[in-house]
Symmetry: C2
Subunit: 378 residues, 2 copies
């Protein structure tokens, strides 16, 4: 610490707080890569193979592929204790609060089957439970029976069946794979950083993941996906987008899902998601929502362009249209984000614990000097 010239940065924008080999965000050129693979190279890779690559930096061998698939099916299924607990959670509780709360309450089993270190196996266990919890919380909110995953089925095939009660089409499953791969990891975002601050005290992995989920919930972060689609629903149709955007800008209201602190060009995830959304959104309502989103992005670009500035939609913006067309209710969007991003959280926990030190910044004290006030009124 330098007493003479302390560093001050309230939002830590541009402050480097560590090294990572997990993902690389190149904001100027709009590139995102995981473990050395551009995301465009990964969107068609089987989902659990990408999971393994993000966590461990290598492709799984045949035995690891098979074991991981079995492991995820086994633990996506909730046991009796977990169902009993979830039954007592409020059925209208926001899914993100449900996840943040349920993760620390999970009883993590001692047996191991993956041949990886304990934290990695715990992390994958938690990721599987999150998948099962999201589906079960939705089923309970609809007064429907909780479904169980089927061995042999693909990861998101099982998830969509557990959520809706019916098997998805191969196209739907593929869209979900791709959307989730795109959101799996994004370097030191706020949620990942909160998990890192938590891990820096040597708290266990479930505490760290829960802290990350709570942080992802905020509407300036993951919660933007819900907010962006709700905005499109509120606007109602593409012809009203221009007036909406102008009013927001006049009143300095933030337009959810537009712009990104890191990307100074198009968000590489939005670039992939936008044509996917166009392809998936076939019914009238989905088409109108998507057209409204596109009109909002264009109106923003016109307004910013008039001031010589550029702006693009970020990943949250079109993702909502994809999720909506997959039948996911708006208030479950951020939980779907968490269901994918959890693998990034686990990867960062594993990487950080190798070389961790307590993260503890400073405050500038601007209050009353010590001993200057009247204690008699206490």
């Amino acid at each position: 610490m330098s007493e003479s010239a302390p560093i001050r940065s309230d939002d830590l924008d541009g402050v480097i707080v560590g090294e990572t080999a997990i993902s690389d965000v190149q904001g100027q050129t709009g590139l995102l890569s995981y473990r050395g693979f551009a995301i465009t190279e990964l969107v068609d890779v089987p989902y659990l193979h990408v999971v393994w690559m993000v966590l461990f930096g290598e492709w799984p061998d045949e035995q690891q592929k098979s074991k991981l698939k079995q492991f995820m099916v086994r633990h996506t299924k909730l046991n009796h204790a977990e169902i009993d607990l979830l039954q007592q959670v409020g059925r209208d509780l926001h899914p993100m609060l449900m996840l943040q709360g349920m993760v620390p309450l999970l009883q993590i089993p001692d047996d191991r089957m993956l041949g990886v270190d304990d934290d990695a196996e715990h992390g994958l266990f938690i990721a599987a439970k999150i998948t099962g919890l999201i589906a079960a919380h939705y089923r309970l909110s609809q007064s429907k029976v909780i479904m169980t995953p089927v061995p042999g089925k693909l990861f998101h095939e099982n998830f969509l069946q557990m959520f809706h009660g019916t098997l998805p089409t191969p196209e739907q499953r593929h869209m979900l794979d791709a959307a989730q791969i795109l959101q799996m990891e994004h370097s030191f975002n706020a949620g990942t950083f909160a998990g890192r601050v938590c891990a820096s005290t040597l708290a266990p992995i479930q505490s760290s993941i829960s802290a990350s989920i709570g942080t992802l919930f905020g509407k300036l972060h993951g919660g933007a996906d819900q907010a962006a689609l709700e905005m499109a629903m509120e606007i109602g149709s593409p012809d009203k987008a221009d007036a909406y955007v102008k009013e927001c800008l006049a009143n300095k209201v933030k337009i959810m899902g537009m712009g990104h602190r890191e990307y100074k060009t198009v968000d590489p995830r939005a670039k992939i998601l936008k044509p996917m959304a166009v392809e998936l959104c076939q019914d009238e309502e989905s088409k109108r929502l998507l057209a409204t989103l596109i009109a909002v992005e264009e109106a923003c670009q016109r307004e910013f362009g008039a001031k010589g500035k550029e702006i693009w939609a970020n990943v949250e913006f079109y993702k909502g249209a994809v999720f909506h067309s997959l039948g996911i209710p708006t208030h479950f969007f951020t939980a779907m984000f968490a269901m994918a991003r959890v693998y990034g959280y686990v990867a960062h926990y594993l990487e950080f614990k190798k070389n961790s030190r307590l993260i503890r910044p400073r405050a500038e004290y601007v209050g009353h000097p010590a001993g200057s006030r009247d204690r008699t009124a206490a």
Copy 2:
């Protein structure tokens, strides 16, 4: 952000990340003050009056004192839904995981009685529930009935009765008041900072408090209290302290509860707690534990002194002896810490939301360059 010379600090030691008027930590001189009052001025003030001062920066008036007292009794009592939920939580689950998980699952009522803003009332509601949850989780772990608070009784009188089933002596209640006042707030520690990162995304107060609790759990932070007393139990008696300390230093093992990143002199909280511990620890076992702790601190000071360095015990060190003599089991120490520190978390949430901006640091990418790897093995 400066592209030419980015700032790098992995642990943020000395990096100022914001302003606060809540507490002032003067590490060089060993002074800690809340809202302009040195902690020595506050240890004898009624507990809930200190709570109000920490949250709002003013003493409560008579009506506020009366309403806060009623409010805390009302909400320390768990309702049926909360008890049903807690019944399903594993009885041997660590109390800190229980708290981190239960806080986001709480249904926060809409009615208001304190005449303060919504987040402040929500925060005090959560603080009251944490108090009730700790006592109830302990009772369930002992297969004993859950007790309810009694209107008119003092805050920690109720807590100790709900925990043990019997009323504490005035001395015991006073010791707990003082110990909890000393740990109520401590500027931007890791837990408070994690809560701030969470709040910076506009996540709700229960998410922020839960993230802080998860961070406090780590043994380099709040968890040090449990670790320090367990160390004293493991050492067994004062005569073995010297050999223990020498072995730790030879093997570069951290001695829990010794030293503090902020204080370069005696921790002002330890200074108050040490004589309190001496006064309270009257039975043989407590006396032996305390004597062992004192012997460890002295041995550390000798060893560090020989190298020209100084070291002191921090707040976690003697607090354990106080809690132990109050009949609190070791694995509940950190939850007791959370029960007090939650008021600091609430105060920071209220202060931060007035002027918040997304906290998002950067990473230095040290992995494979994008597009450099073989995808065929996927």
